[in-house]
């Protein structure tokens, strides 16, 4: 390895790859994060890309970014501010200027900083001066020229040559971190195995970038981030959609059921259908339905027929599924509905993140429609909560909504692989033929779940449907029966609380302020509160994963604190839900509706304001 004049050891570094949506930034970021994870860093990633596959070139709207936070310590968020920005064009500077930490390094493709490109990004002449970035560590690399030079002896077309630019930038960053190239080279070989010339070109350019970093002395200081103190075991990188898919598969295996998914492609949930469609080796039946409604209806049919059935979607799709979801609720069949939330309403911000489907999940159906709602907190714990969603659906004979979001679905982190023998059992409440007449809505006295009678079983023939029924399964419009059934279905869902673990408090159980969140705000809240605690504030946090029903100890946790603040990426849906469920507390709110996750800093600032700066309440 080349000589390094100055090496900075850091606990954590945030790096962002940014360019046109066709520049391959998502891939570059993924390769960098996988390499870092293999080295032993803890990581958290955040892809941020436009809805258009190829948005107008060089415009700020077309910028696609991938942020990676790597650490020698445990990492809970993709990071608020960037230490190193790789910018393939002026638009990438404009889009990211406000997220740069003081003293950041900006590596940019100077070939792309032409007058035309600069103006297209909305600058007059000098992006760095206009955005006051001229004091940053600016590294101009004529990447396009260097790539052409590196490949001049190869017989490939100019378009393919320019497509390797991202590998050059990646090579430079690898040099900066003294990373190994092997993982990326293996990847290139596998991806372009059938096109050896393209594989060779990419590898060549990757190395050219690396050596370029070594040659120019400007690329100093370089960084060293040691391995993170993570527990022993076998790890892999996983994103939220993959973890969700695998959690469902794990539950199916534990229940001794085969999985069925009926879904319609929708950003950002499509990855779940794609992942499960791969798993025919494990007997998964996947059906890409003609629409969202058919997605859930085929799943309901599959559930009736005895499969663990799921449907995956995002907010607009959940809206279309709501009538059928009620049918699943009414027929009391197990079903997991995954809503990978995105910015709404309507088509909204399809590729951005938001937590604004909570009310839709809780209330978005006609009539009295109790459905359990669960939310995952990190990309990897989507595995656990998808498993739990399926377990509850089966054991309590009910549809369950699992809320994740774009931030979790696309974000990735290292994950310690569990062993199936350590996973809890899933007990299927099968109906069995006995001397007594089978009653479709006869219930378990403890859970109130009905029994699952699978078509094909002799003697258990019965009819279900959306019309109100008696215990026997006959259609009934009797007033008292309707009220009884409505209350029973509600009570059935409330009793799921018996399987809901207690709410955990991050920090002390009493204090001046409790920061409350739900789902994917976990990482930012946990980091903010941990930092505030270290600074001497009496602050703790509680992040909810079980929304309906809420954990038993919720009120007890709230009672320990002087103030409560609910942080969520909407206008206050969870805060208002808590106001209804636990009325005696006063809830402050911290809300953000920008299609972006929280920053740790803004949560800290708001908490300090609420505490009026007091450290010893």
């Amino acid at each position: 390895m080349g000589k390094r004049s100055k090496v900075i050891k850091k606990d954590e570094v945030v790096i962002r790859f940014s360019g046109d949506s066709g520049d391959g930034m998502q891939l570059t970021g993924t390769l960098f994060s996988n390499t870092s994870a293999l080295f032993g860093h803890d990581i958290s990633t955040f892809p941020d890309y436009p809805a258009e596959i190829r948005a107008p070139q060089g415009t700020v709207g077309g910028v696609s970014g991938f942020q990676v936070h790597i650490g020698h310590k445990l990492i809970n968020t993709p990071g608020d501010f960037t230490d190193i920005l790789v910018a393939m064009n002026p638009a990438a500077i404009r889009a990211n200027a406000r997220w740069l930490r003081k003293g950041s390094t900006i590596i940019y493709d100077s070939d792309n900083f032409t007058e035309k490109q600069i103006q297209r990004a909305g600058y007059k002449a000098d992006p760095f001066v206009e955005d006051k970035l001229d004091s940053m560590n600016l590294i101009a690399a004529p990447i396009s020229t260097l790539v052409k030079e590196a490949l001049k002896d190869m017989e490939i077309d100019p378009k393919t040559v320019l497509r390797t630019k991202n590998m050059f930038a990646l090579g430079m960053v690898y040099w900066l971190f003294d990373s190994k190239l092997k993982y990326t080279e293996d990847f290139i070989e596998e991806k372009f195995g059938k096109k050896p010339l393209v594989a060779e070109a990419n590898s060549k350019v990757l190395r050219a970038g690396y050596y370029y970093g070594e040659t120019i002395e400007a690329l100093t200081p370089s960084y060293r981030v040691g391995p993170a103190p993570i527990s022993k075991g076998t790890y892999r990188n996983i994103n939220g959609n993959q973890a969700t898919s695998w959690g469902l598969l794990a539950a199916a295996e534990k229940a001794g059921l085969k999985l069925f998914i009926g879904s319609y492609p929708i950003t950002p949930a499509t990855g779940i259908l794609e992942e499960l469609a791969l798993r025919k080796d494990m007997g998964v039946k996947s059906l890409q339905a003609e629409d969202e409604i058919a997605g859930i209806c085929t799943a309901i049919g599959a559930s009736f027929a005895g499969r663990l059935a799921v449907t995956s979607t995002s907010g607009p799709g959940l809206a279309l599924k709501s009538e059928a979801l009620n049918l699943a609720m009414m027929t009391e069949l197990p079903l997991v509905v995954i809503d990978v939330q995105r910015g709404g309403p309507s088509t909204g911000l399809p590729t951005k993140t938001e937590q604004a489907d909570l009310w839709q999940a809780l209330y978005g159906r006609n009539g009295e429609s109790p459905v359990p709602v669960i939310a995952a907190g990190t990309p990897s714990d989507c595995f656990h909560f998808a498993f739990q969603a399926a377990k509850i659906a089966i054991e309590h004979m009910t549809p369950v909504i699992l809320l994740t979001d774009s931030y979790l679905a696309n974000g990735s982190e290292p994950w310690k692989i569990p062993s199936m023998k350590d996973m809890p059992d899933v007990t299927v409440p099968y109906a069995v033929k006995s001397d007594k007449e089978f009653l479709a809505y006869e219930r378990d006295p403890e859970t109130l779940a009905r029994k699952w009678a699978i078509p094909g079983t002799r003697g258990l023939e019965h009819r279900v449907g959306g019309l109100e029924k008696t215990i026997k399964g006959s259609v009934s419009y009797t007033p008292e029966n309707h009220e009884f059934m409505v209350r029973t279905r509600d009570e059935k869902v409330e009793r799921i609380v018996m399987d809901v673990p207690d709410l955990k408090v991050i920090g002390r159980k009493t204090g001046d302020l409790l920061v409350i969140g739900w789902g994917s705000s976990y990482g930012h809240i946990a980091t903010a509160v941990t930092e505030l605690q270290a600074e001497g504030y009496k602050v703790s946090a509680a992040n909810f994963n079980y929304i309906r029903p809420l954990p038993k100890n919720t009120a007890k946790v709230f009672a320990g604190f002087g103030k409560l603040v609910v942080c969520e990426l909407n206008t206050g849906q969870f805060a208002n839900y808590l106001r209804m469920k636990h009325q005696k507390y006063n809830y402050h709110q911290y809300n953000k509706i920008q299609g972006l996750p929280f920053t740790v800093q803004e949560i800290k600032d708001y908490c300090i304001k609420l505490l009026e700066g007091k450290k010893n309440g």
Partner: protein, 340 residues
């Protein structure tokens, strides 16, 4: 396909304990009776049947069958039935639906179930009206029909169910009349034994809101001249005196009188339900008064691989190649690393 056994069912075995709530005189009673009779004759174990429906008068039928049943939501029967059949191809899945349920709100699921060749039997009760909502026009109502939502007559062209079905790559299409138990029985049985999506359009009289819509095909005086019952391999001859026939002329079907203009029985078309080319079937399915008789019986029945069969084949192919069978194997596949 379910195996047969010797249950020796009678129609009564398929009657549930639920009170049948259709209007007296409704064509649905006849459909229910012929279905129960058909199933009794099939001798397939009762527990293998699942009757699925959407919403509408037709869709109450599963409650009256002593089999597994699923009364769904409006328009979605085909999607629910698809899920059941794909989940367990051993089940015999029957979909009960109507012209509003299948062709208006559920049109999308209808064409896609047919396109995929899901092995379900779709009995489409066509009364050309919305009955359960009390008399609004449907996608099959004749143009000009006066209803509560078309007080001055409809201005819409109706679907012809056979044309739509064959246009969606339908492999099986048959038509029968509610009161004709013998023909219905024959058609249902053929549909049941058919391997793939089978659509049976039943011309069903709604006594309350569209009474007499099919009188021309049902009244004793006119039915023989106004309908033709097709049988595979037989000449397309019809009429009270069996003196009319259908020929192909200038790429069009034409009704001719046998014995006139030198036409003999030899000139009359022979029905080939198994011809893959849909041309003639499409024309036969589209025949309507006054130029043509309405075709009854099995108009089209061609074999093709079903969705389930293709799925099973694909699963076997993937499983033969992949080393992953269990969750533990999946979890440890691909790039992993050890932290010691």
């Amino acid at each position: 396909m379910a195996e047969t056994n010797n249950n020796h069912y009678v129609a009564k075995d398929f009657k549930s304990d639920q009170e049948v709530r259709w209007c007296p005189g409704c064509g649905d009673h006849g459909i229910l009776a012929s279905l129960q009779k058909t199933l009794a004759e099939m001798d397939i174990p009762k527990e293998k049947y699942v009757f699925v429906s959407g919403i509408g008068c037709s869709s109450r039928l599963p409650y009256y069958m002593n089999t597994y049943g699923f009364h769904g939501i409006h328009g979605r029967a085909a999607a629910i039935a698809t899920g059941i059949k794909v989940a367990n191809p051993d089940l015999m899945v029957w979909e009960m639906t109507g012209d509003g349920d299948a062709l208006a709100i559920g049109g999308n699921h209808y064409i896609h179930a047919i396109r995929r060749n899901i092995d379900i039997k779709i009995i489409l009760f066509n009364n050309e009206i919305y009955g359960l909502t009390k008399g609004q026009y449907s996608p099959t109502s004749k143009k000009g029909l006066t209803t509560k939502t078309s007080p001055y007559g409809t201005i819409e062209e109706p679907f012809k169910i056979g044309e739509l079905t064959i246009g969606a790559n339908g492999r099986f299409f048959a038509r029968t009349v509610d009161y004709n138990l013998q023909l219905s029985n024959e058609v249902y049985k053929t549909a049941a034994l058919f391997n793939g999506t089978a659509v049976v359009e039943v011309l069903q009289n709604c006594v309350i809101f569209n009474d007499g819509a099919f009188d021309a095909f049902t009244s004793k005086e006119t039915r023989d001249d106004n309908t033709i019952t097709l049988h595979h391999g037989e000449k397309m001859i019809f009429g009270k005196n069996r003196d009319k026939g259908i020929i192909l002329k200038d790429l069009k079907l034409k009704v001719v009188n046998i014995g006139e203009d030198g036409i003999t029985e030899k000139d009359i078309l022979t029905h080939d339900a198994h011809e893959p080319n849909p041309g003639i079937h499409y024309r036969l399915a589209g025949m309507s008064l006054p130029d043509y008789p309405v075709a009854l019986g099995v108009i089209r029945a061609i074999n093709a691989q079903t969705y389930s069969a293709a799925m099973i084949e694909q699963h076997e192919r993937v499983q033969a190649k992949s080393k992953i069978r269990t969750m533990d194997e999946l979890l440890r596949s691909g790039a992993t690393w050890e932290v010691k």
